[in-house]
């Protein structure tokens, strides 16, 4: 069954979406969209280093994203530049350095568009194994981190005062995010990973009455977006990443239809 490239893409894409939904909820709640974007952009530097030193691609991307996220935390703690400026510098610096390095390596032939926007044809069986195993690790980690992470999202001081360890939780969360970026890069592309994290989560918000429900809905909505996006990518010969993001956007817009939202709002307001 996995011999068909389209089935492979679907299996890989759904795997990514199921993980991206719950993680994306935290990115929305913690207002980390730009942070996620910066980590995703650094993935291209990871690709360049993997090619240069002949490392496994996903491992290299994971390590670079993890290092970048740690650098962000350290730079933010020093507090000389605003977080916004630090993110802007790192996001584009890592992307540009990655692009320059890849261009300098004239001896390797790389499908750059595939890395930037995703390529369904590129999904291999080992990729699927990485995505589903990595996905299982990510979901297990999120389940384990769930309470402290949610508490720290509402108030890090409250969490710390009542015996949780918000700093440690935050570091663990960033490693999880680096892992998801490494998994998702091939499918959706460096430039659009954050969209698959955020749009399904934002869509799910309108139907969810609890954080846990929102995470589950986001995972399911993401999976639907992947299926719709890949179908249209195949039919219209469009790049897979943007097609999935457009599908997610359509679902988001549908969720904005007044009738749908009013009913949920009323339901929530009732004690």
């Amino acid at each position: 069954m996995l011999d068909d490239f389209f089935i492979r893409a679907l299996v890989a894409g759904i795997g990514v979406a199921l993980v991206a939904g719950p993680l994306g909820c935290f990115i929305v709640w913690r207002r980390m969209a730009y942070f996620g974007d910066t980590m995703a952009h650094s993935a291209l530097l990871g690709v360049a280093l993997a090619l240069m030193f002949q490392l496994p691609l996903q491992l290299s991307v994971f390590l670079v994203a993890a290092v970048v996220s740690l650098m962000l935390v350290l730079l933010q703690r020093r507090g000389t530049l605003s977080s916004d400026a630090i993110l802007g510098i790192l996001a584009h610096a890592t992307l540009a350095v990655g692009l320059v390095l890849i261009a300098l390596m004239t001896w390797v032939r790389v499908d750059l568009m595939g890395f930037l926007f995703g390529d369904i044809l590129a999904v291999t069986k080992p990729d699927i194994a990485v995505i589903w195993l990595g996905g299982a690790v990510v979901l297990a980690a999120l389940a384990w981190l769930w309470r402290p992470l949610l508490a720290a999202t509402v108030s890090p001081e409250l969490a710390a005062a009542e015996g949780l360890r918000p700093e440690r939780t935050r570091l663990a969360f960033m490693l999880v995010m680096a892992l998801v970026i490494a998994m998702a890069m091939k499918i959706i592309g460096v430039l659009l990973i954050t969209a698959l994290l955020i749009i399904p989560a934002a869509t799910a918000r309108r139907f969810a009455a609890s954080p846990e429900a929102m995470a589950v809905f986001a995972a399911l909505i993401g999976a639907v977006a992947v299926v719709l996006g890949l179908e249209s990518s195949l039919n219209f010969d469009t790049p897979s990443g943007p097609s999935m993001v457009v599908a997610a956007l359509v679902l988001f817009l549908v969720s904005l239809v007044p009738g749908l939202t009013r009913r949920t709002a009323e339901h929530e307001a009732r004690p």
Binding site: A161, E162, L164, A202
Partner: protein, 271 residues
């Protein structure tokens, strides 16, 4: 150790603690202790380090000098200042209550009833009024059965009648649970009725004692100005005459926007 000795032992004792940030002492030479069943109010102008002291006692921050002793196995609960929950996070009152630890249904409804929010467990926190939200936070803290309860400006965003009711509630919580309560406030006149001891801070402890003695102390007058001190003296006088034997002195509705003391206590007078 028998129960009475344990009760006499302070919950927390700070000896000469100080915190330095960016080559500046935020607070220094702080000596204070807090016992079970006692309500202590920290008062001081903005930037006086009230929240810093609270964070030190809670163990969120470590002192850079001095010594902090917390009774072994101390259970703390915290109501932080200005807790804003983003709309993107679907959080019901009951989910807010289980934020840092699980809770039985019985304990939850008991705590909600204690703050007058019975049956509102399913309500999203975003639709609560300022006063209801603070009560929900109080219920959350209460349900943890804390030995030490720290409330940082608990009446923010609450109208005047709500403020009085909230402070009365805090007094009741102390009476019923025997917890030690640390209150942070910037308006002494409302907290005075419920407070055993006031500690006036401005980077260091300026003065300490009963609400009356602090209100009359020269250090307090210097920090807050003569007018405030006189208003408090007036309030005390007024208050002495209007306290009903059954303790029900909460003024209803009206005049809530006035900051003149004579007006505030008028409804009580009229009864």
């Amino acid at each position: 150790m028998d129960a009475s000795a344990r009760r006499a032992e302070p919950l927390v004792t700070a000896t000469g603690i100080g915190v330095m940030r960016a080559h500046r002492w935020l607070v220094r030479h702080i000596d204070l202790s807090l016992h079970a069943g006692e309500i202590v109010t920290l008062i001081g102008p903005n930037g006086a380090g009230k929240t810093t002291i609270a964070k030190l006692l809670l163990g969120i921050m470590a002192p850079d000098e001095g010594k902090l002793d917390r009774r072994a196995g101390l259970r703390v609960a915290y109501v932080p200042q200005r807790l804003a929950i983003d709309w993107t996070l679907p959080l019901s009152v009951s989910r807010l209550m289980t934020l840092t630890g699980p809770l039985s249904d019985a304990a939850m409804s008991e705590a909600l009833a204690a703050v007058g929010l019975e049956g509102l467990g399913n309500r999203p926190v975003q639709v609560l009024s300022g006063g209801e939200f603070q009560r929900a936070l109080l219920a959350r803290a209460l349900a943890r059965k804390p030995d030490l309860l720290v409330l940082d400006e608990p009446v923010q965003g609450v109208d005047f009648s709500g403020e009085v009711a909230l402070y009365k509630l805090i007094g009741e919580i102390r009476d019923r649970t025997g917890a030690g309560i640390l209150l942070i406030s910037h308006d002494l006149h409302i907290v005075m009725a419920q407070t055993d001891r006031v500690i006036c801070v401005s980077g260091h402890v300026c003065c300490e004692g009963t609400p009356q003695s602090v209100a009359e102390s020269p250090e307090y007058v210097r920090l807050f100005g003569r007018r405030t001190a006189e208003t408090i003296a007036l309030y005390r006088h007024h208050h002495d005459h209007t306290h009903l034997p059954d303790g029900t002195t909460v003024p209803a509705g009206g005049h809530t926007h006035s900051h003149d003391h004579g007006h505030k206590t008028e409804p009580t007078d009229a009864r």
